[in-house]
Symmetry: C2
Subunit: 380 residues, 2 copies
Amino acid sequence: MPAFEIYTAPRIVFGAGALGKLPDLLPPTAARVLLVVGARSAERSGLLARLERLLPVGAVARCEREPHVDDVDRVVEQGRAAGCDAVVAVGGGAVLDCGKAASGMLTNEGSLVDYLEGVGRGLQINRPPLPMVAAPTTAGTGSEVTKNAVISGPGFKKSVRSPLLIPRLALVDPELLRGLPAAVAASCGMDALTQLVEAYLSKNASAFTDGLALQGIAAAGASLLEACRGDSDDAREGMALASLLGGVCLANAGLGAVHGFASPLGALFPVSHGVACAALLPQVVRANLEAGGAALRRRFARVAEALTGERFADEQEAVARGLERLEALQRELGIPRLSALGITEDRLPEIARGSRGSSMRYNPVELSDEQLLGILRAAL
Amino acid sequence: MPAFEIYTAPRIVFGAGALGKLPDLLPPTAARVLLVVGARSAERSGLLARLERLLPVGAVARCEREPHVDDVDRVVEQGRAAGCDAVVAVGGGAVLDCGKAASGMLTNEGSLVDYLEGVGRGLQINRPPLPMVAAPTTAGTGSEVTKNAVISGPGFKKSVRSPLLIPRLALVDPELLRGLPAAVAASCGMDALTQLVEAYLSKNASAFTDGLALQGIAAAGASLLEACRGDSDDAREGMALASLLGGVCLANAGLGAVHGFASPLGALFPVSHGVACAALLPQVVRANLEAGGAALRRRFARVAEALTGERFADEQEAVARGLERLEALQRELGIPRLSALGITEDRLPEIARGSRGSSMRYNPVELSDEQLLGILRAAL
């Protein structure tokens, strides 16, 4: 058994209606809250007003896209001007990441760029950020329990990463997913499923993350289609759970080639992270299984059983059914192919080269340049 | 799906040799450490000296039994006199509990008695305790990730409980289990298994705890006999993992009737917590399954598969094999019957009455007084 480390939010509160508990859940020292919300939360009927009633708000900051360095700078400036002593972010993964980066930059010196992996001067977040509460309104990234925030800038999309950036409280209220557009629910849900599957198959998986990943895969398998098609409390709860567990798993087990590809896809093309993952998951898993050995097939058979909720006497059958289910999800959710996203064959080598980042290192098998290109072609 | 809350140590470091990382893992503010050790750790060849080399030790406190109020008072006094600013506890569950209670009383006013559930004035730990590292040397209680400390006093054995008491860092090094006497390994191991099984069957179980509990049960099932009989690194790792996961699960899912009984058994008789659990686990599970419905049998069938590492096509067979395995463990590990512990039939009503504490509330079925007595008679 390999050694492992687990970092996670010291407190997770999960359940329909949990947002109403916010006043009791704030750190007792929080007197002026920097509230970070996205476009959808801000406009949604009553949500912003409700948050302003629940919280001692010092400033409201908007984050209306996957955050760029200057978006975070602006949020930090707002928080500083208002003398805020805590951060509450309510929104999708981009909003939570913006809040996390801002909570860190409100207590650490210098420019955010210098803290971004592979971009700046390699500075580390070493002072505790402002106490932070993260409440997701999409089910996808699990950012409420992870230690990184993904930030874009000219020609890059990189992470600031530190265990100190894990929110103090992850507040997961499935009711906040109500009314999510179907296409967003689909791409976010496939992102959550990708994180769970990649974390379970990761070289760095542990018994701790394995148990959570299988629960999350089962929840996603039972809920994803329904969450995108219907108006079901159970399906929203299932996907909120899958996303939360995916966050715990990815933060501690790492990911794989799908996330390796998602980084250049997001930096080079106007493709959201969720769509990038959704467009590649079955293709990457199939290539990994073809390149990997018996142990990997055995692991994927467990994934297949969790995903389908079935038991297979035969491992080969489990693998086949699992791959079919992943492909069916991609198809039935209407996930676009790479070509429909404006990606042409001549750009594939550039994407393949850009994929060898931090996620790729935990992919269960080493993939050659030719294998990487083969995956992209299969998804084109 | 029910709502749930998860509290756990924000950082867990697991693996053979992890103790050597202590200098890098201490909170940066720790300049004078209150080191709490048990009799075995203190005497063990080189361990105390090694800890004194690894840590800026301000004071060394001993905890040589399941801690009483005055033991904790003495440890607090030592820490205060030496101006300690952090606590590191290395030992069995009793030592970790002593360290946790001391870390809380070093920053909170008044007498520990007033913080004990059902004993004192119901005071709450509301100031953050001194930063605390917990490193277990037995595999049983999972105290390194739980929010309570069990403290004895005249005629009682009760908990001080607060999320703030969860150690900042759980440092689980299976090498620290080396040389554990077989009888201690057996009773502690059965305690860990009991915590996992009761948490999985608890009324308050969640998808989060379920995933971890099944992993822990599988680890205990594969390792417990070997850990008590042989000198196996793998078995020690398996039991250290089972104990850790049991701690996360019990702290968040609650327990059941076995732990209900363990409280009066420990308060009224000189019976260690592990032995009390080990002496009652199969008997309680059998009574619960007889009194419970189909959903409970389905849940226990999952326990049985994890415990045996086998797959059963038939649920009834799974239940039967699971119960047999629990009974076989009790027998093969030489766990004493209650009568061998000096408990006579006339004391059973008193034990049954005392069992309706906080753990009993999460038992999957309501047990009548007659059913409680029946369990005790079956274990006599």
